[in-house]
Symmetry: C2
Subunit: 230 residues, 2 copies
């Protein structure tokens, strides 16, 4: 209505909000300020964004659904690998946002309310991971639930670590770093196969007539499978 060639009201609201947050800070910006700059009515703001915070975090819910879908159709050998793969979706989403993601990071670094909200979002991913892993390995053994919890936390943390490095510009190839980090996470949980009594460490020794190089691919495959490791 106000100007007919302008981009859709939703985008104007986001632009107005982010620029005002940059100029005056988040707390010093009221919703009235935002709608005034965007040239729309106050109702319109809350129609598009459920809250003032939601302008900053537009689509966590959609991403959560995408991950759920990915996990549902995933046919990976182990739950941890499937989750490590699914979490790439999250990183990819941020990478596609590009500069927007960095502006948001600058905001969340300053405003604790926004930081808390982002942490809550991450916790939802982590919860989804945990539920998936728990479902994957029935809750047979005691300690399975704890293990699932640890795995989900590790995947989420490793992702956040790489994401923050990229957001701070300390990282040239975030996807490669994510893969490396996930390798480390998987190695964490596949290596020692902790026995019930605690001090773990299963060792498999074997003899082969083939050179080391010929054995490596098979070794990798074995390590990736791991499984119950009773």
């Amino acid at each position: 209505m106000t100007s007919r060639s302008a981009p859709p009201a939703r985008d104007r609201l986001a632009d107005a909000a982010l620029s005002l947050f940059d100029e005056r800070g988040y707390d010093q910006t009221t919703v009235d300020d935002i709608v005034e700059r965007a040239g729309v009515g106050r109702s319109t703001f809350f129609r598009y964004y459920g809250s003032k915070e939601a302008v900053v975090f537009p689509d966590h819910d959609g991403l959560l659904d995408a991950i759920r879908a990915r996990l549902a159709t995933s046919s990976d050998a182990t739950a941890l690998v499937a989750v490590s793969d699914a979490v790439r979706l999250v990183l990819l989403h941020y990478l596609e946002e590009g500069e927007i993601a960095r502006r948001r990071y600058a905001l969340t670094s300053k405003v604790s309310a926004l930081r808390d909200r982002e942490i809550a979002s991450v916790a939802r991913y982590q919860r989804l991971f945990r539920e998936f892993i728990t479902a994957w390995m029935g809750d047979e053994a005691p300690g399975a639930a704890l293990r699932a919890e640890l795995m989900a936390a590790a995947v989420a943390s490793a992702h956040n670590h790489v994401l923050r490095r990229w957001l701070r510009g300390e990282c040239q190839d975030p996807l490669a770093e994510l893969d490396a980090a996930m390798q480390e996470v998987i190695a964490l949980f596949t290596a020692p196969a902790p026995t019930a009594d605690g001090a773990g460490t299963t060792v498999v020794a074997f003899q082969s007539s083939q050179p080391l190089d010929a054995l490596l691919p098979a070794l990798r495959r074995l390590l990736a499978e791991d499984g119950p490791a009773k």
Copy 2:
């Protein structure tokens, strides 16, 4: 003023709030309702509790300080052990609260705003752990930061796992379970000795003319030493 033998206003407010939350639910209870039942003025409520949510989470800040102090004076062999020890303070705090902690758990399970706030609190503990671990092992090697992140997340998750089990009454000796969980966490990170270059999982393949049985004793001796394994 209203009644002179009553317990201090702060406690009356907490009681009134929690009972009203139980009766009508959190969202359906206004601060006016609370102060009316407590028989105090509205200003008094916000004097004691900075927000409506804060009635439910009284002393996370104090606990955070206690942990900081504990970590500062800790002279443990490794950072992970020190953190695993410090996190006992958190669990002990909840255990001392007893029934109050369970009422809070029932609330946070229903009200997402409260759940989010609790998650944010936990994230602060985790951040403190991460900073401590990072400081302990200088940031020499690349991958050290990730490792610190994973350790902190593992400790926090293991604690939360045990805490939730106790809150749900699935647990008779929570401190013992916490110790066991921390053992598992420590085992996770001490076993495989990840190499400096990132991709973890060192595999040693060798060929020997001797039968497997002859090699086992030597293998055991090697594994018992383990140590740095650079």
